[in-house]
Structure formats: C-alpha cells, structure tokens
Amino acid sequence: MSDHHDELIQITAGGGKLAPPAAEKPRLELKDVQARLASAQGPRYWRSLEELSNSEGFSEMLEREFPNQAGSWLDPVGRRGFLKLMGASLALAGLTACTKMPEEAIVPYVKQPEDLVPGKPKFYATAMPFAGAATPVLVESNMYRPTKVEGNPQHPMSMGAADPFAQASILGLYDPDRSQTLSYLGETRTWGNFLGAIRAPMNAQKGMQGAGLRFLTETSTSPSLAAQIGALLKAYPQAKWYSYDPVNRDAARAGSKAAFGQYVDAHYHLEAADVVLSLDADFLSGAQFPGFLRCSRDFMARRKMEQGVKMNRLYVVESTPSTTGAKADHRLPLRASDIETFARDLSAAVTGTPAAAGAGGDARAQFIAAVARDLQQSRGASVVIPGELQTAAVHALAHSINQALGNAGKTVMYTEPVEVNPGEQTARLRELVDDLNANKVNILVMLGGNPVYNAPADFNFEQAIRKVEVSVHLSLYHDETSRLSQWHIPEAHYLESWSDARAQDGSVTIIQPLIEPLYQGKTAHEVVGAFSDQPGVNSYDLLQAYWKAQPGAGDFDGFWRRSLHDGFVSSTVLPFKNISAKADSGSASPANGAPAAAAGGLEIIFRPDPTIYDGRFNNNGWLQELPKPLTKLTWDNAVLISPALASARKLENRDVVEVELQGRKVKGAIFILPGQAENSVTLHLGYGRTKTGRTGANTGFSAYTLRTSAAPYFAGDATLAKTGDEYLLASTQSHNLIDNKRSLTGEEAEHRDLIRVASVEEFEKNPGFAHEHSEEIPRDLTLYPNYEYTENKWGMAIDLNSCVGCNACVVACQSENNIAVVGKEQVDLGRALHWIRVDTYFEGHDLANPATHFQPLPCMQCENAPCEPVCPVGATVHTTEGLNTMVYNRCVGTRYCSNNCPYKVRHFNFLLYSDYETPSLKLMRNPEVTVRSRGVMEKCTYCLQRITAGRIASEKENRPVRDGEIVTACQQTCPTSAITFGNMNDPESKVSKLKAGARNYSLLADVNTRPRTTYIAGVRNPNPELEAAAKA
C-alpha cells in the first residue's frame, strides 16, 4: 500500500473549515451545565460536563468524525509545497506495485529444541510480582519471544484473568529505555568490577557485625529471597532489612495489630456476601487492592442475575470517585478524613450503642441507619471492607464490625501476611533515614524501588542517600534513585528472571524466565548473593536449593516440573487463622494522627494512579495512553476537584493551579470530576518524574512533593491558587461520542439511550425494560433477501452489570492486536487507536453524586454494516461468519467508512505510529497480526487471528468449533467475565443463551445495523429504604 494517501486526505480535510486550535476550545461554563441538568430536557446519561454545557464545540465533537483533525497541519513543509511534491510522488507511486519482492533469508536452528513447533506459540506459567502480591500469569511465547501475558486459568487468584498492569508488562520487558548497563558514578562497569569493589567494604562490615549494612527492598513476597536475606542477616547480625513501597499497607498492618494484636491479612470471600460495604476500599479497580482479580470475579458472580443466585448489594463510602463507587448501589461521597468518623458511627449503630446524634447531615445519618440495618439483617453474609489507603482506625473498626456481625470466618478470613517482611513500612523507613543522616550506614543496597522519587517528602531521602559510603541500586530503569547511587545495576525483568512469589492467597508461584535477560540484567537474588560468601551464585541454583530444602518437595524433579507447569506450588496457600478481633478494637484504636482539614478547609487525597500506579509504569506507553476509568485522562495526572468547588473557586478544566500543603507546593492542571467529595482534591501519584525514559518524560506533576509520612493518603488544609496558565489535558471523555439523538426529537430521542439499567424491583416487574421504546426492525422488512449465515455466526454479548471499567480489555486488545501508541497531542486530536474502549457514562442530575456506568465498546460487527457500502475500494468486507473485516493492504484511507459508522469504533492510523525501527519492539509484536502502517483504517475484528486458529484446529479434526474454544483477547482477560463470545448458530452456546435473555439489547437498534455485539442491560439492587428517602 502506498504511504502517500493519508497526506492527501489530510489536505482535503484541511481545505474545509478549520477547527479552532486546541488552545481555543470553547471553555466550559458550569452555570450552563447546572441549568441544563435542572431543566427537564437534560439527558439522563452523559459522558462529560462539556456535553451538558451543550456548547458549539461539543456538537462539533458529536457530529464530526475527527473533530480536531483539520487544524492539525503538523508538517513543516507548507501545504502548497507539499501538494507540489505530492503531484510528482503520486505519479511515481503507481509504479511501486511493479517492484520485485525483496530477497529474504530464512535462518533455521543449528539444533532445534525438541519441543518447538515453529509457528505454534507455547505457554509458560509464571507470576508478576506487584505491589505486595504476585499476579499469576500465563505467558505466550512465539519462538521463545514472550508476546502476550494472560492470567493463569489454573490459579485460583487469577482464574484466567489479568489486570492492565500484567497485560502491559510485556511492553515493559521490551522497553528500549530500560537501563542497559551497569554503572559506577555514571561510568560503565562490569558485574565483575562490582563484585570486586564491594569486597573491601564488606570485609570491613564483618568486623562490625554488619552494623553499617542496610537492605531496602520493595514489598516482597518471595520466600527464597527472604531466606537468602535472612541468612545474610544471620551472618551480619547488626545489618537491617527494610521494605518500602510508597503505596503500602501500613494502615492495614496497624489496624490488624490494634484488632488482633498481630499482623494478619484479611481476605474477602465476596461470593458469600449478600451485603458489602466499602469504606473507601477500591476493591473493584485493581490499582491498589490486593487480590483484585478474585475479589471482582467473586463479587460479580452475585450480579449475573442467574437463577437461584441472590443479588448482592454494595454500599460505598468514598472520598474520590472510583470504579468501585461506580458499581455501588448506594454511594456516599465523604471527605477521606470523615470516613473514620463514619466508621465509628456505623460501628456504634451496628453494635447497638446509640449513634452520636447530629453527626453529619441527614443524608449521612439515614445512610448509616440503613446500612447498619442491612448489615444486621445479613449477619454472617455481609462484609465491611476498609480501604487500604484509609487509617489504621478504619481497619480496626472494620475488623470489629465484621466480628460483631459474625462475618469473620465466613466472608472475611484472616491469614498470616503474604509479604515476607511485614511491618509498618513508613515508620521503618524513617529509622533508615535517621541512620543515614546519623552516618551510621556504610553500605545501602536498594533492590528495586525508587525512594528518592517516592519516599515521603519530609524524609528528604535525596539528601540522606548522599551520606552513605557505598550505595547500590538495582532497578529496571536508570531513575532518580540510580542517579544518586554510586552503583546502578540493571534489573532483570520478571519475564527474564528465576524467582518465586506469593499471590494474595499465599500460594507460591515459581517465577520462570521466558527469555534470557535482554541487557544482562541481574535479579535481586544475584545482587544479595553478591554480598554473601558465594558472590557468583545464580538465581536458578539458589531457587532450586531453597525449594529442595523445603518439606514436601519429595521427588524434587517431579515437584519442580509440576510446580512450573501449574504455575503454583501445591499446598502453599496460607491457612486461615481462627482469631477474633478485640471487641473494643474499633473504639480503642488511635485516632488518625494526620491533621484533618478544618470544616471548610480543603483536603488533599493522594491515590496511586489508575494506570501508571505509583510511577513504576511511568515509561509504559500502553498504560500512559490508557484512559483512566473516570476522567478518561491520558498521559497526565490532574488536580481533581468537585464541580461545586470549581464553581466556588471559578476554576475550569485545564486551569493551572498551585496546590500548597504545609509550605510544600506543586503546580497542576484542574480537572473537574463529578462525584468528587466537595472539599476534597485528589492528586494521583506516579507522574512528574525527573529521570525516566522517553515515554514518561514531561508527563504530569509529582504529587509526592506534597506527601509526608504523617499524612500519606490524605492531608488537611491545603490551598489552591490559580496561576492563570493553562495546560493541555488529553481526556478522551468526549471522543468518539455516539450521536443517539440525531433525526429524533422530543421524547423519542430520550428513549434511545445507549445505557439501559433498572432496579431489581423494576426488572422483576418488567423483565423487558431494555426493549421499551427501542424499535428493532423486523428482519423481513427489506427488499433484498437476507444473507443466511449457515456456518459459524460469531457474536458477542457484554454484560453491563459485570463490567467494572478496569480497562484490562483495552490493554489486552492493544497487546494482542499490535495497536500503536499515538502520544498525548494525537490523543487530544481524537486519534487514539484503541480498538475497544470503555465509555463512562454518568447518570442523573446530581453533579455531586451521579450514578456511573461503564460500557466497553468494540466493533459492533453489524450485519448491515454502514461502513461497507461506502468503501470505494472494497477494503472493508463482510465474511460468511458475519465479521466485518478490514483488508489493510487494500485500504487507501478515504475514511468514508469511519464517517459512516454510527458507533465510532473505526480508528484511522493518521501518522506512522508503529515503531518499525526499534529492534526490541519488533520482538514484542504478535506475529499473527499485521503491524499497520499509516494511512489505513483499523478496527476490531473479534480477534480474527484467534478465530482462524480455532477454526483451523477444529477443521483438522473434522468437527465444529466447540463453545468456548475461541476466546477474544478482551474476553480472556476480563476479571468479571463480562464479555462472552461465541457462535450464535449454536443454540447451546453461552452467547446464544445470553442473547436470548430478556435484558439483551442492541445499541441504536432502530438504525437497523443489526449489531452482533449486544449488551445485557444493568440491574441495580438499591435498598428500598434509602431509595424511598431519596425520592422523598
């Protein structure tokens, strides 16, 4: 295909009316928004505040396919000059078809591995260590190149699902910006140099019993690493080992100590819970909640509306809107600092002691009363989940409430901590910093982590680390901490390492490498080994030696092979402890030490970023470009404020403000988030890195600058000062808007909703609620004969009830289909390429607490696809199985198809987004999918490569494709099984059964596109008591 066509199209488009440049976008007027919501014509479901303000710019967004494309003539060559060049090159372009194919070499092995079948992928079970618990994964390997991460279906903590971080870790492996050389004071050295250099200081430590030796790791769950460091600490009894993660479980630890007198981990068995109350616990998002994959699966198992399964009810009290809050049946926004008092009042209400009267408003009191009653009615089948980022007291209170309700041992279980060095990390880190400042530390070994960037601001780690004699930093990237360490050692990625790690249930996975370290990276085992008496030891031998010594490893060879194959070591799940919380643990627990905001003051909430977490994924393009679940922001964090605060302070999106907290300041751009607690300001961590790779550079601001050890997750009395500057935030909230009102007016338009949801009561009264007002056009109402799909007939059903908006599908699709990253400016122009997106809709007229819905949107694979007849070159065609496919080598980039797509699921490759040059990225790509060049339209094909592979496998065996044999990438990774794909011609298939259900509906059914992707309408389970109160 020619590379020239897309430029031609750009010129044609540029000939029309120029859209205003991004900086002059019409500003959002909040008063318009409120006026519109108050009026009767206000929409029921909306995606952004811009939509509600109904500005001119917004209608352009709605009507135009790529709203900002025309104003984006990025080429330095002028338009005229370009046309001249094009004239000549177009004349020559036709000749390219006549060129010979270049000669290619074919390079066989010298000795081919026996088990390798070229062209067939292999799968290996391993685990991704992440923030305190490992994610069990199954990694696809093509000719020994890992290419795709999936969840491990055999592992109970994954059940085949993977979160966005695990999905994107494959890009982390091949990231060309990873640290590639070992260095001393910035100069390249060898591993041998390092081993030699640490001998003398270590010998000195021998005499001091290691008094000056300190190890600092991230939260680790590796039993063998613990044993290794343990042995070292035995040899050097004065040496110390610290663990630190900026987003840690300190509160949970302290809370469990208060309640049980010991450190325990709480595990929630949500499949057994009828009533769930979350106290700022984001257990349905995956960003920071341990065991998210299993939690969300279990929780959603109770919301599939299956026969005989009672639907659960979810109450969420939260400070900043989260996906968990979005799925709540009742959500109460409170400031983070008010949640502890809420928990105390609730505890009092549940245990029967009269609640403190007058605390909080009426709504809050009603909420507490209703929740307490509901919890009491479901004794032993309810659960209160405290937020990891709340206070110790909230945890202690939750433990005692669960104890009082008889939930302990039923819906909540306790085990020993999963991590190997449990403790209150922040307090212990202070000890290390004090030692550093007192010049007590001679050797500091940092295994992973980036404390210079993310340690509490009051620790001033940057200064402290300069005082140590020998500092060693092992990390994937040459980051802020590496810069200030003498020795920097490139770390082996988990896909290059031998190690072990525990999942949230405690089961150990042997981490096995899928590829040799690309850049001679070392594992933590090898670095710790360097400080022991056997400096040359490798992690494989260490690991084997450790497991050989474990009881139960009897026939070691068999044990080892089975453990590697299954992805977990059998019977290593931590046993449940039979313990009970002290009755007064809640009330006796110390109040939060952090200064709370004064009644009218502003509170700052720190949260790990939903996509780049604490900053560790800062250089991962897939995660940077992944729209954050509620704000849909990409490439940046923002100062998230409530509409009410914005109104009061006259702030609008993109206004730069200076946030000041106890004398510390940081500048960031405003983003108004409906549902945010009124006087709370949320800042996401992980951005504003000063030393990172090319992808993460110049993104966002660092909220760590404001964060102190006393107030790690929220702090009171901050100020916001408008600077008068503006900063471009690329949010996809208003991109790819579906125009569901066009050509319809009045009441009809209002009933063509894309989201359909009802309460249980409404559903029971009217099971077909999803079809009211929507007119499916009869099949025979056409002059042309319908095409009969006689072979397979692929279809997809997406359960809106189950979708938690976690975005795992988006990254899975990106990985499976070689989808390129386009960058912030291009995202802002509406050119993001995600084939499946998750649209977030807000519902209702209350900006302070709107209901929220998620809708994953892949291609609808319409039977009457509007895109097909308009293609002048037949590049998008229908298959006999009902797929709407793209033939990239035919596409000339007219974009008529996407202009004609009512769902806006076609994405045009405007520029050369795919990196054809970087060698490491070539290894990453799925060999079964074309890497698209510029100038072609791309779209979801239900993973045609997987369908083909499954069909060929079945054809070879002369049998039909079995139900569930072919799974799409989005379906496979979905933690809640919200996506079902299969053959609609098979009445027994899961997808046929779902589509036959009463709640199944199509988007824009009356347009008669006959989408193959349909949705199962949502059902909520509100508490009638609160519902009545709300109506009154």
Binding site: C98, P118, G119, T930
Partner: protein, 237 residues
C-alpha cells in the same frame, strides 16, 4: 489570413491521438506482462544458496519423505526448515569431506545458522497455513511443483493472489486423497488410471475424473463453502 495549419496536420493529429491511445494501452499491457513475468514473480528462478541442495537427489533419489526435514508441515502454519542437525544426521557419516558441504559442517562446528535464501516468499500481509491445506487434501506438488525433479529449488507457481484464488474458487480441480498429499508421483485420475479412495462409512470408490473426485473429497473433507474460501479474511487480517 493564411491557414495556420497545413492539411497534413489533420493526419498528424489523428496519428498522435490514436498513437497516444495505443501507447497507453501498450504500456498497460507491458506493465501487466512485466508484473506477471518471472522477473517479478521469481517463477523458475533458482536463487543462489549457501549449499546447492538438491531436492531431486534427496527426495526422488534417496526417497526421503518431505516430513523428514519439513517436520511441522502437518501441524503448523509453517512447514519448518531443517536445522543443521538434520543435515548432520547423515552427513556426519557420508560425504564428510565434500567441499560443497563445508558450509553445513561450518554451521555445525561454529554453532551458527545456515542462511538460506527464501524461495517461496509471500507478502507479510498474507497469512498462509500449511497444515490446513495438507489436511484438506492439497498436495505439496500442487503449489510447489515437481520438487522431486528440482536439482536446485525454484518457485514453480507465481504465488500471486489470482493464482491462490484460482484454487480457492474451485478446489475440486486440485483435491487429492489425504494419503496422497506427499506423493510426488501422484497423477490426477483419468479413465486410464483411476484413483481409489476410501470414503467415510468404509466404502471404497474409484474415480476416473478429477472433478468427480474433487467433488467427493470436497464433501468428505468438509471443505468450507465457495464464499468462505474466497473471503478476504481467509488470508488477510
């Protein structure tokens, strides 16, 4: 005023108008011809290889099965190119000093792969699968030609899309019994030399024409419908 154009201009202008027309047509024809020529497609041209490997000698002469070297042809999309080890299975014993085989021995000695030049090279946007073709009764020779009579391997067919489609439109013309796919001597049935096939149900049937055999096998092997076979998605994704 005198005439500007001489009467002969008429002839000249006609000539040039028709001339340009014919020239354009001719150019089109020539381009088309070049595009189908072996210069572009590579048909019949044996590229230079590190070792002048003879399929004729190994397959026909020694009677080695295709699958001795192309091991994954029945199970994978890729037929497989033999590793040096496969060559050395025999050549560690025979022709151990042949100068022609020095690159093979060097590869074995130095643990460095041989670099063969690809003979059959499809564009990267085509996803071809060997295993399904063999499983549905398309013989090696149908696409690769008489490999057993090639002292040096060359491409026998154009591998252009029209060539692929010719069979996908009517596979009956080429189908053969599954047990004959590797048979390089196999001849399509004629009344003189019929082909016997064991059909499902244990019935053995004799065919004397390819179209009859092809239709029977099309059904027997559950080959996809005409429309499915020529769908773009069959090869492009």
């Amino acid at each position: 005023m005198a005439q500007i154009f001489h009467p002969s201009t008429n002839t000249l202008s006609r000539l040039s108008i028709y001339g340009v027309l014919f020239a354009l047509l001719g150019l089109g024809y020539i381009t088309d011809d070049i595009n189908r020529s072996s210069y572009v497609t590579g048909v019949g041209i044996a590229p230079e290889q590190p070792v002048p490997f003879s399929h004729q000698h190994h397959a026909a002469g020694l009677g080695l099965d295709c699958r001795y070297c192309h091991t994954s042809v029945e199970t994978s999309s890729f037929a497989g190119i033999p590793p040096t080890k496969t060559c050395m299975n025999c050549h560690a014993q025979i022709w151990t000093n042949a100068p022609l085989l020095e690159p093979v021995r060097a590869s074995w000695r130095d643990d460095k792969s041989l670099q063969w030049t690809r003979v059959h090279n499809l564009p990267d946007f085509v996803y071809f699968n060997h295993s399904i073709h063999l499983n549905k009764g398309i013989g090696c020779a149908s696409c690769h030609g008489p490999v057993d009579r090639m002292p040096l391997t060359y491409q026998a067919k154009s591998l252009q899309m029209e060539w692929c489609l010719e069979c996908h439109r009517q596979p009956e013309k080429y189908l053969r019994p599954r047990d004959k796919v590797f048979d390089m001597q196999y001849q399509q049935p004629t009344s003189g030399s019929p082909v016997k096939v064991m059909l499902s149900g244990g019935v053995e049937k004799e065919f004397t024409s390819q179209m009859e055999l092809g239709s029977a096998l099309h059904k027997e092997y559950n080959i996809r419908s005409y429309h499915a076979m020529i769908g773009c998605d069959t090869c492009h994704r």
